[in-house]
Amino acid sequence: MQQGGNARTGIERRTILKAAGASLAVAGLGATATACGGGSGSADGTVTIRYAWWGGEPRAIAIKKSIALFEKKYPKIKIKPEFTDYEAFWEKFQTQASGGNPPDVFQNAVAFLRKYDKRGVLMDLKTQADAGNLSLDNFRNGVLAAGQADGKQLGVPVGANTMSLVIDLKAFRKAGVQPEFGWTWDEYFEALQTIQDKLKIAGDTGYFTIMYLYDLYLRQNGKAFFTDSALGFTEDDLTRWWEDGYKRVRSGLVADPKKIEQVKPKSGLSAGLAASEFTWDNFSIRYEGEGESDYGLAPIPTTDGKDTGQYLGSLMLSAFTGTQHPKEVAQFIDFMVHDPEVGKIMGYDRGILATTEQYEAYAPSDGPDKGVKAYEEEVAAAGVLGKITPHPSGADVIEAAFLRIGGEVAQGKAKPADAARTLFSEAKAAFAG
């Protein structure tokens, strides 16, 4: 370049260059420092807690209102909310947790308890209960057990829910079919046949790919989807389950999976492709918004005319074992699950409120919430609620595999026996992970 130029200006230029380079480097370092530092405590004793959950817009609005109440009562604790949808939530959580930086408090579900306990992420909240920062009393119908595994309280339930059959009320009425408590699978599929004959629509959206429904079926037969460390059924069991399912796709009793695929993220039920769908009862609220018919909750079909195999599942709050503010975290969880005002704000969005304080404070006024309440009262009164089995580590991966491989069966792309073998081999890898 300009080698023969004026020496003095050359030096000046270089000095400027160096200064510029150095300041760039410093700026870079500075940025890193700000990003990494910034502890969650401050001089005046205020602490900040990160709280993350998955869910839709209504949940986010309600939770933020609840947080405002909490911050008013505990002015020294600030809550930083983070939320996203289910799949993104767990991908992000996994990355954060592996880097030692998960949120202090987060929404959790039974499929993840052992997984993240094994990885040393979850706090045993019993320690905080013993310290008097959190009450584990007044939980309804033994739902507190949903947060327990291996003698530890790894999550505190915020709501209870159970698997249910959501039906298109108009379609069932038009076909003259009346679901009744204790009806059998045969009666259920006969009902679907009647609907198909009379209304020319499928009866169900694809029951045999839903892990939690197969769990109920197995429980009706003295088994369960998971034992403490493995699958609780055999390849033959699953082969038969999927063979029957595929037969019903072929006959049109179960909706065409190609059509179901294309209405996503809408459900096949609210899209009018089928007259019923198995799902968690607190999800039933979405059908009213999505679909044009009226929807209601119907009993789970049984094997013996009585036992539905149902149990109370739950969304819960868990805490990061490495949090810098265990006491404040416990106080926050306590407030979120016991405070009556929070119960009024949250309603049944995450299931029927788990504690008596919140359950009694909230009187459902809209149709779907009333329906959910009546449904769970009916189920509880029937005395069919069994005990939840904590899932082994890897359950979340297996649930996704069950849906995917079942989908291949439905599409006619895998033979049931081969598909069952595939699921077992993937399950083996998931348990080992």
């Binding site: 370049m1 260059l17 480097a25 870079g28 592996s98 190609k258 599409q411």
Partner: protein, 318 residues
Amino acid sequence: MTLVKEAPAPPAGKRAAAPAAGRRGRRRENLAGYLFMSPWIAGFVLLTAGPMIASLYYAFTSYNLFTPPKWVGLDNFTTMFQDPRWQKSVEVTLKYVVVATPLKLLLALGVAMLLAQKRRGQGLYRAAFYLPSLIGASVSVGFVWRALFSDDAIVDRSQKVFGLDVGGWIGNPDYVLYALVALSIWQFGAPMVIFLAGLKQVPRELYEAAEVDGAGPLRRFWNITLPMISPVLFFNVLLESIHAFQVFGSAYVVSDTRCGPADATLVYTCYLYQKGFKEAQMGFASAMAWTLVIAVALVTAVLFWSQKKWVHYEEAAK
């Protein structure tokens, strides 16, 4: 760096007079240069080279992100080659590359030849055909594509007119990959522009001479255009196939994040993503990544080797 080349050489006498000062000065300039490059170098080392070396190591370990990686030798690779889903992902990806790349280049070349002719508003046409390349990779176009090829949507309805009723491509494992292929072909703008540049380089005299000799349009294309643009064609084939091997976004979005139905759009990178970020089998995912790197390198090597046979460079003419 062309600037350096163009700068006149310093007078010899001056260089001899102060060799030490010059060397020191150059070293200082180098230092300043490196300082300026430092953000880029830091980024490269921390965000590209470092992770790549780490992933090479992880490829030989079992690593779930939480417990320290455990050395397992070649286990990941042997498991991978026997894994039916991995085989499926290879099959899907190869099908995609082999179908999408030639079709895209054919269309790009065809349109480029039309646009190479002088006509009114040609700038407008070029911009219009290039446009999909700019927006095609975006997530929103993925959603649009999903809507276009769904049951009872525009593609399905148009097909029905001709009696071809498949009930929408998106839900059908036999068709959905071709919706992705269509999305790729639609973005033919980038190779088209390169072809256009290549076509402009072909000397007009060659065509005139050929015409005088009585060569028809096909003959002129085959014996003049194709050999003359073969370096450009080679470049496009290389770039587009490497690109196609790495397809991810369109498969992920069009299939509603599951790369289905029935794994019909399980392209290689999508399976890698599922293994790494959903199932936290980072060792397996790293092994997959390096296998892809090697496979793409091999394909590139074969292409370079093959160019002796069909790519015509002009050195001889000079």
